[in-house]
């Protein structure tokens, strides 16, 4: 079973009818290919990712196609979006000197946010970032920039030296080297990617469980009460997810900004 086939299959399956709960699981994150080119399968998450990129590109292109000094209409919205990222994400970490990274951070934030929020849009209803394969390239881009800026601004040796703050006695320095190397090259990028993926994966799974359970528990019996409870929880999770989608995009971009800041100016 792939994708939302599981949901459809439960169409006639209700409690007390001798039918077990068709529990959602990993199969709800696997999609049948929409079409195949040779051995390459094009699936719904890929389509959604392209759609997300197009939404970001088209929105900002339309907003700033012919910018006016006094913004009107969609340019207002575009400026609001950019200023929100600048004042809430970029400036707190990088200060004014970091304004040259604004286009990158704005694109990153809105690309992730649109991919996340697709979970809540009817018909799309799948967060692209709940497939970890879509998250690693973003982590790779961020980490490449992080390393590149660090080496460029501090030099390769200075960059490695600055990983451990100055003032640490020499023996402790040696003890810390393996910890620091693992943290920097393995666990920091790992947590950056897995945090985004895990939150979106769990959110989608919770929504699927409660929505499916509301339908499954629906029957002219005490099941109706259970169904109502499950439906209330589905709505609650939906509202929670509106917050989580935004929060995860915010955290990813904020951490990117702090990484860039630590590469440009090492901690004192």
């Amino acid at each position: 079973m792939t994708g939302d086939v599981g949901v459809l299959a439960s169409g006639g399956c209700h409690i007390f009818s001798g039918c077990g709960f068709p529990a959602p699981g990993l199969q709800d994150f696997e999609w049948k290919p929409l079409f195949s080119i040779g051995s390459f399968d094009f699936t719904k998450p890929m389509l959604l990712a392209i759609l997300a990129a197009l939404v970001v590109i088209v929105f900002f292109w339309v907003a700033f196609r012919s910018p006016k000094l006094v913004p009107r209409g969609i340019q207002n919205l575009g400026e609001l979006a950019i200023l929100a990222v600048r004042d809430q994400i970029l400036r707190p970490s990088l200060g004014r000197k970091g304004d040259s990274y604004l286009p990158f951070l704005v694109s990153l934030f809105f690309f992730i946010y649109i991919m996340n929020v697709m979970e809540l849009i009817p018909l799309l209803q799948f967060p692209v970032t709940s497939r970890i394969g879509f998250v690693w390239p973003l982590v790779f881009i961020v980490y490449f920039l992080y390393l590149y800026l660090g080496v460029k601004n501090q030099g390769p040796w200075g960059y490695l030296k600055n990983m451990i703050p100055p003032g640490v006695p020499a023996p402790i320095y040696i003890i810390l080297v393996p910890v620091e190397l693992l943290r920097f090259f393995v666990f920091q990028p790992f947590t950056l990617g897995v945090r985004l993926f895990g939150n979106m994966f769990a959110g989608h799974l919770l929504l699927t469980i409660f929505t499916l359970a509301s339908w499954y528990l629906l029957s002219l019996s005490v099941g109706l009460v259970y169904a109502a409870g499950s439906f209330a929880l589905a709505i609650f999770v939906f509202l929670l997810e509106t917050l989580v989608t935004l929060l995860q995009a915010f955290i990813f971009t904020t951490l990117t900004a702090t990484y860039i800041a630590s590469s440009v100016e090492p901690a004192h």
Binding site: P178, T191, T258
Partner: protein, 97 residues
């Protein structure tokens, strides 16, 4: 509301945003340190344990790594004023939008 109040509200908002970014950064760095310490010294312990046929060195290595991480986290972030920020940040006056 006078413009003076506006300026102080702006400054407060800016300080809150800076605190939020710093908190997120430190929180996740600390988490990464804990994992990295256990993994690094767990691996060293496991390798030595394999060489000398003492399997107990693997968990001992992990505990030692955890202790090192905790010690470093306390040294680095545990003291008041231990975290310094580059001086150029946060000194922006007013709003230039």
């Amino acid at each position: 509301m006078s413009s003076g109040n506006d300026a102080s509200t702006q400054a407060q908002k800016r300080a809150a945003a800076e605190g939020r970014a710093q908190g997120l950064d430190i929180g996740w760095t600390v988490f990464s340190y804990l994992l990295a310490g256990m993994a690094a010294y767990g691996a060293i312990g496991w390798l030595i344990g394999r060489a000398v046929h003492v399997s107990l060195l693997f968990p001992i290595g992990m505990l030692v790594g955890l202790a090192i991480s905790l010690g470093f986290i306390i040294y680095r972030y545990g003291r008041v004023g231990a975290v310094t920020r580059p001086s150029s940040r946060g000194n922006a006056k007013g709003d230039d939008r």
